[in-house]
């Protein structure tokens, strides 16, 4: 679409957009306008209706009523293709890539650039992709298969995919939730560059700091309704948060002093290798006591995933020993580990944590379906399952419309909350939590953090693995830093500064600091 300066001011405008799912109103007469060159934030609680609204702009959902205007002209979008043709592109919360296709193939998918004889013009397409990737500083490995590249690169693929289709209205649905801090900074730079070229950008994020850093304006929605649209220049994060959840949010975490007890988890000399026989974790030693939260800080890809999978029985252990509650559970089955009091909030919620095509009750029962009262022998007890599901979903404020709906219909944040509810409600003596608050709104983060701290006060042990340093620092009693598969330093939370952690994460040693115990 060519951008010509005309009398209409807004690149895209929503007028009283409403979307109903059955009787449930997900979006209630929402109006928003975005100018070219503007970055417009969209903020709201989990399940407030952000993704639903954006899905209407990108042609995936049809509005129940209301209007969409592109460049001042009303449009009716019946498919994603219609939106693409109008220059609207969306980077989705959950990526839509074909796992065993290459990066380049994924970018070209659906818009194959065919020459006169219908032959795929790969060379030309490739050149265009290379140019885009250079121009916006989005590094790509064109010939790698999607299943082999990092989440960060998958997202860059999604962005290039949209740019390749010449979009000038760009929608980003929680793009930063899956990125490492470095990648977040790079992405925000890219967004600013795109805006400076006159593209209109809608950015959904739960991170108030990010919105503060790049957005010109932000629209806040709550339970499907617009609360306000504010200028970011003169709005503080606290005010934003309050508008969003309707109450004051406490950003400070209160860690009561707790007397630590016996050793709950003791890992000695753990070694784990991956499918390609590459050593991912080695000489790994870590002990966590009852009533203690140990935060494992580190850059993504330094062995965290393999560590967690080997501790929870999802990956074989090469050598070493894992004791949980004094029981040798080295290489035990996931079920045996679960039955010994371990809860696991997995890194990839849609792959490991949930069965998207199953309903809420079945997903909530996933870890307990084989025990009384949820089953007796071979016989499931649906009544008990339903009762438990209702309880934990309301305890953890999971927003849903019907228990029999598929878990895939929940909003992203509510899917995460369901997993947390399921794992924490079993009161595990050891909780292994990987990025537990990924994709949660600030209110939900506050709540989940308080639940994790409560578990600690009850004398449980927690291994917290998070790519967000802030979260690690807020919650941990002790911080251990992992680098290239082993712990390069650990100390009490108070004894480590942010920059020291940063240095350790980068693989450097802090020799002259006494408090830090080096692994070797």
């Amino acid at each position: 679409m060519k951008q010509e300066q005309t009398n209409h001011n807004y690149a895209i405008e929503m007028k009283n957009l409403t979307k109903k799912f059955g009787n449930f109103v997900a979006n209630d007469r929402i109006s928003m306008k975005i100018k070219s060159g503007e970055i417009h934030g969209l903020l709201g609680e989990n399940g407030a209706g952000k993704t639903t609204l954006m899905n209407m702009l990108s042609g995936i959902l049809k509005p129940s009523s209301g209007q969409i205007l592109v460049n001042g002209k009303e449009v009716h979008l019946n498919s994603a293709k219609d939106a693409t043709n109008l220059g609207i592109g969306m980077v989705h919360q959950h990526f839509m890539l074909v796992q065993n296709f290459t990066v380049l193939e994924n970018i070209m998918l659906g818009i194959e650039n065919t020459s006169f004889f219908g032959i795929l013009n790969r060379q030309e397409a490739k050149q265009k992709v290379v140019n885009l990737s250079k121009k916006y500083g989005l590094k790509l490995d064109l010939n790698a298969k999607i299943e082999d590249v990092s989440v960060g690169m998958q997202q860059r693929v999604e962005i290039i995919k949209v740019l390749y289709r010449n979009a000038d209205i760009l929608i980003f649905d929680e793009p930063t939730a899956v990125l490492t801090p470095q990648e977040v900074d790079e992405l925000l730079e890219t967004l600013k560059l795109l805006a400076s070229e006159g593209k209109a950008i809608i950015l959904i994020s739960h991170k108030l700091k990010e919105l503060k850093a790049v957005a010109n304006k932000t629209t806040i929605i709550r339970r499907g309704k617009v609360i306000n649209t504010v200028d970011m220049a003169n709005t503080s994060p606290e005010v934003l948060a309050e508008m969003m959840v309707g109450r004051k949010i406490n950003f400070q975490r209160e860690r009561k002093s707790v007397k630590t007890g016996k050793e709950v988890l003791k890992i000695t000399n753990l070694k784990v290798i991956n499918e390609q026989k590459i050593v991912k974790v080695h000489d790994f030693n870590l002990t966590i006591h009852a009533g203690e939260i140990v935060g494992l800080a580190g850059i993504d890809g330094n062995g965290q995933s393999e560590l967690v999978k080997s501790l929870t029985g999802l990956k074989p252990i090469e050598s070493g020993k894992v004791l949980i509650n004094d029981k040798d559970l080295t290489g035990a089955s996931p079920r045996k580990i679960t039955h010994n009091g371990v809860g696991h909030i997995p890194e990839d919620r849609q792959r490991f944590g949930l069965i998207l095509q199953m309903n809420l009750v079945e997903n909530a029962s996933l870890q307990v379906y084989n025990q009384p009262p949820y089953s007796h022998g071979l016989f499931l007890e649906p009544k008990a399952m339903v009762k438990m599901t209702k309880e934990i979903l309301s305890d953890y404020d999971v927003r849903y419309s019907d228990l029999s709906e598929n878990v895939g219909a929940l909003s992203g944040g509510n899917q995460q909350k369901l997993i947390i509810a399921r794992e924490l409600s079993r009161n595990p003596s050891l909780l292994i939590a990987v990025n537990p608050t990924r994709g949660l709104d600030v209110g939900a983060v506050e709540f989940i953090h308080s639940q994790i701290l409560k578990a600690r006060e009850m004398g449980n042990a927690i291994l917290l693995i998070s790519y967000e340093l802030e979260e690690v620092q807020q919650l941990s009693d002790r911080i251990a830093v992992i680098h290239e598969g082993t712990i390069v330093g650990q100390a009490k939370n108070e004894d480590l500064t942010e920059s020291e952690i940063g240095l350790l994460m980068a693989g450097e040693k802090l020799e002259n600091k006494e408090e830090i115990i080096h692994a070797h």
């Binding site: 449009v75 009716h76 996931p334 039955h339 792959r351 069965i355 379906y369 089953s375 709906e405």
Partner: protein
């Protein structure tokens, strides 16, 4: 709203498949100079016009319900059981063999015993494929196809070499107390081959529905089929679940075979090809999209087409192959299920989109 739509799609797609199959059949009849209207009338009157015909329809649906259930249970766990025919044949052989071996046992032992032997034989046969898949990752499609042929030639060799004395092509009939056909049912349905097996089939529909929805095993089978990683995370043993699903699938196919051995034919003979009930069972299950109640109806439809089809060639000079073409095109359109779904969504959206889009694009350039 969303749920309703999916359900509607669940029924409308099979109905459209059937309709398109009939239309293609009609076109072929027209092209070959036969009257489709008369032939279809003959087909339905031949299938539903007399008590005898109705009895035959039910009889032919009986094993199909079982093999279709077998296919759907394996499919729920994510396995494509192409070996239903071989498993059914194994069940057929075992049930007849058992019945012939103990002719002096009373009926209340011999009949259930024979049926159970059929189920066990089918389960054993599919269990081989399940075991290979679970422990060695061998593709179940390839192993079950190979096992089909071993079953066909193995059964024929046993019929000729073991079950008959003088190298005959068929065994004697099973003892009266082991037969599912009874004079009562024959009288009821004008001497059809209708037999008590239908009760077993309907009972199994209930059992399988219950198993999948109300038991931990069913929960595990569905979980493994939908997301193996999450099933592992939840502590389910994928190996155990895979093998259980394959054993159940084969047991049902074996039961289907026992229906032929104790009901329809009451003996076993040298087969020149694998029994149809296996492959038809796959189609029945696909047409019903795996839904147990749907399987009853789609098995009956197959029965109607098969039995009614015989009448076409009896009442006119249309060759019976035409009926096979109709059946084949229904199956083809079931297979093209996804294409049809795709077309439906296309038609729905294309309606007003093209006009508005071109308008708005023009608008955007103004």
């Amino acid at each position: 709203m969303r749920i309703k739509k999916v359900r509607l799609g669940g029924i409308s797609v099979p109905l459209i498949s059937i309709f398109l199959g009939l239309v293609v059949g009609a076109i072929i009849m027209l092209l070959s100079g036969f009257n489709p209207l008369i032939n279809y009338l003959n087909l339905f009157s031949g299938a539903l016009g007399t008590p005898n015909a109705i009895g035959e329809v039910f009889r032919s649906a009986t094993p199909l319900i079982l093999t279709a259930l077998g296919f759907s249970i394996a499919n729920s766990a994510g396995f494509f059981n192409v070996g239903l025919s071989g498993q059914a044949l194994a069940g057929w052989l075992a049930s007849v063999w058992f019945a012939l071996s103990f002719p002096h046992l009373p009926g209340f032992i011999l009949l259930p015993g024979s049926i159970i032997m059929g189920a066990l034989a089918g389960a054993f046969w599919s269990g081989i494929a399940g075991f290979l898949r679970a422990y060695f990752g061998t593709s179940e499609v390839i192993t079950t196809i190979m096992l089909n042929y071993i079953s066909l030639y193995g059964t024929n060799a046993i019929v000729k070499g073991v079950l008959t004395s003088s190298d005959a092509d068929s065994t004697p009939l099973v003892p009266i107390q082991a037969r599912l056909r009874t004079p009562f049912l024959e009288k009821l349905t004008g001497n059809s081959t209708f037999h008590w097996g239908i009760v077993i089939s309907l009972f199994m529909v209930f059992v399988i529905w219950w198993l999948m929805k109300k038991t931990t095993l069913g929960f595990e089978i569905r979980s493994v089929g939908m997301n193996e990683d999450a099933a592992r995370y939840a502590g389910m043993s994928t190996k155990k679940t895979i093998i259980s699903a394959m054993l159940l699938s084969g047991a049902l196919a074996g039961l289907g075979g026992a229906m032929e051995g104790l009901g329809n034919f009451q003996n076993i003979f040298v087969n020149t090809s694998l029994p149809d009930i296996g492959f038809d069972g796959m189609s029945v299950s696909l047409l019903a999209t795996g839904n147990p109640i749907g399987i009853i109806f789609s098995a009956l439809l197959f029965g109607i087409l098969k039995i009614g089809g015989l009448n076409i060639s009896i009442s006119s000079n249309t060759p019976s192959e035409i009926v096979n073409i109709v059946i084949a095109s229904v199956i083809f359109f079931v297979g093209a299920n996804y294409i049809i779904q795709y077309l439906i969504s296309k038609i729905k959206t294309n309606h007003n989109s093209s006009k508005l889009i071109s308008n708005s694009i023009k608008g955007g350039h103004k």
